[in-house]
Every structure is written in structure tokens, then in C-alpha cells.
Amino acid sequence: MMDWQALNLSLLLAALTAAILVPVSVFVGRRLALSKSKSLPVIEALIALPLVLPPTVLGFYLLTAFGKGSPLGELWQTVFGHSLAFSFEGLLLASIIVNIPFAMQPIQRGFEAVPQELRDAAACSGMSPLETLWKIELPLAWPAVLTGAVLTFAHTLGEFGVVLMVGGAIPGETKTIAISIYDKVQSFDARSAAEMSAVLLAVSVTTITLTFLMSRKIGRRLS
């Protein structure tokens, strides 16, 4: 039996994560692409960190950062009256942090591939930086932006370790599709696990194919 509630929750989490993270990544990623700062490698390393940290390690740190006794956890509890960890909002915040490299890296590469002469030309014709971004850079880099969005979406759907640590597997609130699949296996319900895994596999294949099509398109456009 398909756990629709968990799938719906995962889709919502993935969509919101991408909706929040992609615009941020457009501004930060563009800045990084143009930056000549000496500390750039350090910033890039920090952004890439969630990519190499084991999800359970990241989940453990986030649990500690969101939990009881942490300044953020206390503040959240005071303002909203419920805990940040083990809530949908907490999961969303964790998901945003985990997905930073998945959104940021392709978008930064996309802006790096936009020739500097174009920006200079736009500036000479009196366009503001924001106008340049909107009318020149984004139309050129949009496949990269879409790649970032798609990767973020797909990765959120599949994320397990972090959700296991900070989620609490609460049905309808923090029990995502990946946790639900684990649950089904644990209750010897191989058929449901197989069904849900097939759905995740289909989504992943589709999104990854889309991503490769997009990156090829950027390559062609900018070469």
C-alpha cells in the first residue's frame, strides 16, 4: 500500500526547499561566480560540506542546533510555542541546509559560464546590475538554475539520514517517503516498500535525465 501522506509530505518538502533555496542561490551563486576574493575557496568548501558529511553526522549536528537548550531551539519555542526539531518547519530548515551544494554549485557554474564581456557591454549601455541579471544573465544561465532546482528537489525526496535524526518520523508532519519505505521494510511489507521505491526511482530517473539534458543545453549555448 502506497503511503500517500508520506509521498505528499516529501513532495511538499522538496518543492518548498527548492522554492526557497533557488532564488537565494541565484544571488549568492552569481556573487561567487564574479568574486575574486582570496577566501573564495574557503566559502566554496563550506558550501560543499553537506555533500561530503555523512547525513547522520549532519543530522546529529542539526538535532543539537535545533533542539532543547540551543539558542535557536529556545527562541523558536518562545515565538511559535512548539519545538523546531521534530516539526515540519525544522525539517524544511534542515533540508535547505543539506541542499545548499545541490542548488548552489550548478547555479554558480552557470553564471561563471556567462562571458564577462556581456556584463561589461550591458553596463556600458546603462543597464543596472539587476536589469543585467534579469535580461542578460538569467536567460543564458537558466538551464543551470533549473538544474539546481531539479537536483534540490530530487535530493530532498531521497534524503534519509538527516530526516531520521531531526524528524522523529511523525506521521503527516515529519514522516517522509524515505522514512516510510524504511518503515515498510522493518514491518516485512516488501510489496509496499517495492511500490514506493519504484515511485522514487521513477522520479529520480526523470529528474536526472532532465538535469543532463539541461547541462548539455548550457554547454551548447555558451560554447
Binding site: 533542539g67 508532519e173 516485512f188
Partner: protein, 257 residues
């Protein structure tokens, strides 16, 4: 870029129902309880109309989450040590009660080479003759059923010899999964899981004597902010109706001891 605004609005509307949390008691339960507690909860909901939300997982993980302020009303642990530890730190209302005691069973896949035996004699022979492949137990480091499985193996003098054959489940459900999958020759797991129809269809089991290991007392406790609805379910779990279900899943209940 124009369709972005309506899309965001749609997302926001879709998000709204998730944020509202109902007055349903939120229960954290050890995964070994999955089948018994699902049955009890179904009966309880039918009888009272009170819906419950149950999260199944590892006792150790839930304990860590409760230390970080997880919003559970009630925690049913697989081992009483975790509840007593939380109680000492003032994280539960009191020391709670033992709701059931578990037993161990040796489990082997149907049509496998190894037969299940209550005294583990088949296991000893297979070991001696060098015919044992992989054998599953839950992790003795943190999983209660794994610790007790180790004790039972030690009791029979098999622990040292079986080292190279052991595979460890993160919890006893996973160990059971390993034991029935045919990837191992069998395992020592929870009797309650051996009795579930899904597992019975794929395996044979033998009940291991309770004296061979320390008792598997399973304790539950309310958390300090538990709702009145949670208190009512806590009381129901100690009723005869709930205890009958626990017994039917192979648990011993406090009076019958």
C-alpha cells in the same frame, strides 16, 4: 519567470494543512511493537473515536530525540533501561510501568539448510561442522534484543565461535529481516516478530528459554507535557483488552509473570 508567483501561492495553500497539528496523542514506539501496537491502536480508535499518531523507530534514537525536546506524549521503549534513564533526568513524568516482556526465538528461513531449535543445538552442530554461513542478531551494542541474543549464545557457549558468522541489524526488526531473507542461515530475534503472519510465511522458529538471558522488560512512560488523551491511552495499554493483544503477539504481561 511570470508563472512563478501563482506557483508559489499554490505551494503556500498546499502547505497550510500540514502546519496544523491535531489533538492526537503522539506516540513513540519501539519497532518491535509495530504489529501488536497497530492492532491495539485500531481497536482503541474504533472504541473511543480517538485517533492516534504512532511513530515506530529505534528505542535509542527516540531517547536521543526526547532529550532534544521531541514533542511525544508517550514513549514505549523496547528496554526499560532507556525509560529509567530518561526518568532520572526528569524527562518523563515518572518511571512509568512495564507493559510487556519479550522473548527470544531462533528463526530460520523456510527451505533453508538450518533447522530452528530451542536449545540452539542445530546451530552448535552447524558451527562444529563448518556449515554455518551468516547468522543475524540485532546489534548487541545498543539494541536490547541484540544484547539478550548475545547472552543466550554465551549461555550455550557459542558466542566465541559464532563471531565470524554474525551480521548485525540496527534493531531487531532489521535483524529479523536479515534472518528471513535467505541471505543468512537464520538469526536470534524477537519472538513477537516471529509470530507475525508475514514472518511466519517465510520462516520457522523455536522459542528460546527465558532463563538463558536477562529479562526483556519493556517499559513505557508519559512525557511531562502529555495530553489528557495520551493519559487515557496510557491507561488503556494497561487494560486487559490491550494485554490480551500483547500476549497474542508472544509478549508476557506483568500479571502473568
Amino acid at each position: 519567470m511570470k508563472p512563478l508567483a501563482p506557483a508559489l501561492l499554490g505551494l503556500a495553500l498546499w502547505a497550510t494543512p500540514v502546519i496544523t497539528s491535531a489533538q492526537e496523542p503522539l506516540i513513540a514506539a519501539a519497532s518491535v511493537l509495530k504489529f501488536a501496537l497497530d492492532d491495539i491502536a485500531t481497536a482503541y480508535e474504533a472504541q473511543t473515536g480517538q485517533a492516534l499518531r504512532i511513530a515506530y523507530g529505534s528505542t535509542g534514537n527516540f531517547s536521543a530525540q526526547i532529550r532534544e525536546g521531541a514533542p511525544f506524549d508517550l514513549f514505549l521503549a523496547a528496554d526499560e533501561a532507556f525509560i529509567l534513564g530518561l526518568a532520572e533526568e526528569g524527562l518523563t513524568r515518572d518511571q512509568g510501568v512495564i507493559y510487556a516482556s519479550g522473548r527470544l526465538a531462533m528463526l530460520t528461513p523456510k527451505n533453508g539448510a538450518l533447522a530452528a531449535s530451542a536449545d540452539l543445538s542445530t546451530l552448535a552442530i552447524a558451527l562444529q561442522q563448518g556449515e554455518l554461513g551468516r547468522f543475524a542478531i540485532a546489534s548487541p551494542v545498543h539494541a536490547p534484543y541484540g544484547m539478550r541474543a548475545q547472552e543466550a549464545l554465551e549461555h550455550q557457549g557459542l558466542w566465541d565461535d559464532i563471531q565470524d558468522h554474525l551480521v548485525f541489524g540496527e534493531n531487531v526488526s532489521q535483524a529479523t529481516q536479515f534472518a528471513i531473507s535467505g541471505n543468512t542461515d537464520g538469526g536470534i530475534v524477537a519472538y513477537a516478530l516471529a509470530l507475525t503472519p508475514e514472518v511466519q510465511a517465510q520462516s520457522n522458529f523455536a522459542l528460546i528459554p527465558a532463563e538463558w538471558h536477562a529479562p526483556l522488560h519493556q517499559r513505557m512512560a508519559l512525557l511531562p507535557d502529555a495530553s489528557a488523551e495520551a493519559e487515557a491511552f496510557y491507561a488503556y495499554l494497561q487494560s486487559d483488552a490491550a494485554r490480551e493483544v500483547f500476549v497474542s503477539y508472544g509478549f508476557a504481561v506483568p500479571e502473568s509473570e
